[in-house]
């Protein structure tokens, strides 16, 4: 079976009017599988947001190719097709919102995709309900009068209303407190397990993706430096620091324990870490 999304040797340079171009991505090859959560990690300026926009069909690679379900994305028709399958949540909701009411904003995408009448209404209502928006009560309000957190929820409802097969979120958890983060995490988990949605989390803070992401693609200076599972990334701790990244406390602890000769099954589960620690303490007591 083909991966959902494949990037082959993708490079991208931003044109600088009259001054040539600024390279942002070079030779990136990557796959996104159904039902997986992939984290694209990188420091400020590493190219991760550019990569997100290439994956979503908003930027066309300067060289290399993008494939969807094994089929090369080509020309305007190909790009439009890709945009129907891949939804992107921008880092700043202001970049995404523009309609004068919440309801119009959430319906914009699905309407563009040709949905009308009862079907459109139902889709928009469902997406809004996921984020606790009651459209009868607040659908007519302007999205710009909302708090930052609420704006982000409207923007996300608009992306989810497109029913994307691949959902890319650029720094979705910045500035979110525990409750909003937990709500979004469980929503993403549900989309992945019930609908098989592929989820891509773009972030400079690996801790925010840690409990969700299976694989980590680490960018630096526009290049793909590491592509690893969570367990393997833990052993790459020393390589992350020069790239401006750090493991969350989970990973640092698992790594320290490994170096002390203690195996850790899953560097995100407190019980298995506690068991590992207690096993040495018991061994120590028996001496």
């Amino acid at each position: 079976m083909h991966p959902r999304l494949t990037l082959e040797n993708v490079s991208y340079s931003y044109p600088l009017p009259g001054r040539g171009e600024a390279p942002a991505l070079s030779s990136i090859s990557l796959r996104v599988e159904p039902s997986e959560v992939l984290c694209i990690g990188g420091a400020n300026g590493s190219g991760k947001s550019t990569l997100a926009q290439v994956c979503a069909g908003l930027l066309v690679p300067s060289s290399g190719s993008v494939h969807y379900l094994g089929k090369r994305v080509d020309g305007r028709k190909g790009l439009l097709g890709l945009r129907r399958k891949v939804g992107l949540l921008f880092q700043s909701p202001e970049d995404q919102l523009f309609a004068d009411t919440i309801e119009k904003d959430i319906s914009f995408g699905p309407r563009n995709h040709g949905l009308r009448g009862a079907e459109l209404k139902e889709r928009v209502r469902e997406a809004a309900a996921l984020f606790d928006f009651d459209l009868d009560r607040s659908g007519g309000k302007s999205p710009f009068a909302l708090s930052e957190g609420e704006k982000r929820r409207v923007a996300l409802a608009g992306v989810i209303a497109l029913d994307p097969e691949v959902l890319i979120l650029d720094e979705p958890f910045i500035g979110m407190d525990y409750d909003s983060r937990a709500h979004l995490q469980s929503l993403l988990e549900r989309l992945r397990s019930r609908q098989g949605t592929s989820i891509v989390i773009v972030t400079h803070e690996l801790a925010t993706a840690w409990s969700l992401a299976d694989r980590y693609a680490i960018l630096s200076g526009g290049r793909l430096n590491l592509l690893q599972s969570r367990a393997d990334l833990v052993s790459s701790e020393a390589e992350l620091a020069p790239l401006g990244l750090r493991l969350p406390q989970w990973g640092v602890l698992a790594n320290r324990l490994r170096r002390m000769g203690i195996a850790v099954d899953d560097p995100v589960d407190p019980r298995s870490l506690a068991r590992a620690i207690c096993s040495i303490r018991e061994a120590g007591d028996g001496r």
Partner: protein, 277 residues
């Protein structure tokens, strides 16, 4: 603590309501901030953290109660310039703060506005660039710098005012790890030099570096103490709308297995050293 009123920020019975809002953003806040201490302000979204920060340096004025910053009542309009000299503020997005076309110009902006003589301004600019470790960028254009460097420029600009307190409203939240570490180290060294640091943050790892943690919930101060007293109990931390530190979740499981750590642990090093003990 009976410190000198001139080196404190004393907040008494502070309430604040935004115009047109139907509820108070802050209600009945009593707290004292001392110079030379590092405070972390935590709380869920909408708990009043940024509002409190803005009340301290007279960007917002109390609806009720008083804020006396370095002996000056924020309510008195004649004090606001003096208050902002003593309490400098940096924000989440440095781009909203930067106005100069070179780093030097940017950092000189504050002291120039205060009408200091040229020589004195140059001295202040140099010493704040040195403190923040970006003296090498003095001729650079701020717009060409990385986000982390821009934030350091914003902090250098704040320090050029030679403040008694530096107030940071989530100044680290958009930065990558390298830039964030640098800023936290800078906060610690500024504190050693007697400057009070008041840092609004979502990150418990940052809060664990502070001397005191202040937690706001629904506009009220619900806790104020040394970091371990609040941060070590993951259930309490969740109740406050915060993400517990992984190490504290592991410690709780260790206790359930009959092997509690010797004391409250917040960092990996603390946990490891109690295994070795």
């Amino acid at each position: 603590m009976g410190g000198n009123r001139g080196s404190q920020i004393a907040v008494e019975g502070l309430s604040f309501t935004y115009p047109g809002a139907d509820r108070q953003a802050l209600s009945g806040v009593d707290i004292v901030f001392e110079q030379g201490q590092f405070y972390a302000i935590l709380g869920r979204n909408g708990s009043g953290k940024s509002t409190l920060a803005r009340c301290l340096n007279a960007l917002l004025l109390p609806s009720a109660g008083t804020v006396t910053s370095c002996g000056l009542d924020t309510q008195d309009p004649g004090n606001s310039l003096d208050i902002r000299k003593r309490l400098s503020m940096v924000f989440q997005d440095p781009n909203t703060q930067i106005v100069g076309t070179t780093v030097e110009e940017e950092v000189a902006f504050g002291p120039e506005n205060l009408g200091h003589p040229c020589g004195a301004i140059r001295e202040r600019v140099n010493s704040s660039l040195e403190l923040t470790g970006i003296l090498g960028l003095v001729r650079s254009q701020p717009s060409r710098l990385s986000e982390g460097q821009k934030q350091l420029v914003a902090i250098a600009g704040a320090l050029a005012m030679e403040p008694a307190f530096l107030i940071s409203d989530e100044s680290t939240s958009m930065l990558d790890n390298t830039a964030r570490q640098r800023i936290l180290e800078l906060f610690l060294s500024l504190k050693e030099q007697g400057i009070g640091i008041i840092h609004v943050t979502h990150f418990l790892e940052e809060a664990s570096m502070a001397d005191r943690v202040v937690v706001l919930d629904d506009g009220r101060v619900t806790a104020e103490s040394a970091p371990p007293d609040i941060l070590f109990d993951p259930d309490k931390v969740r109740e406050l709308g915060l993400d517990p530190l992984p190490v504290t979740l592991v410690a709780k499981e260790m206790s359930a297995l009959g092997h509690p750590p010797a004391g409250p642990v917040l960092t990996v090093e603390e946990l490891i050293s109690c295994i070795r003990a």
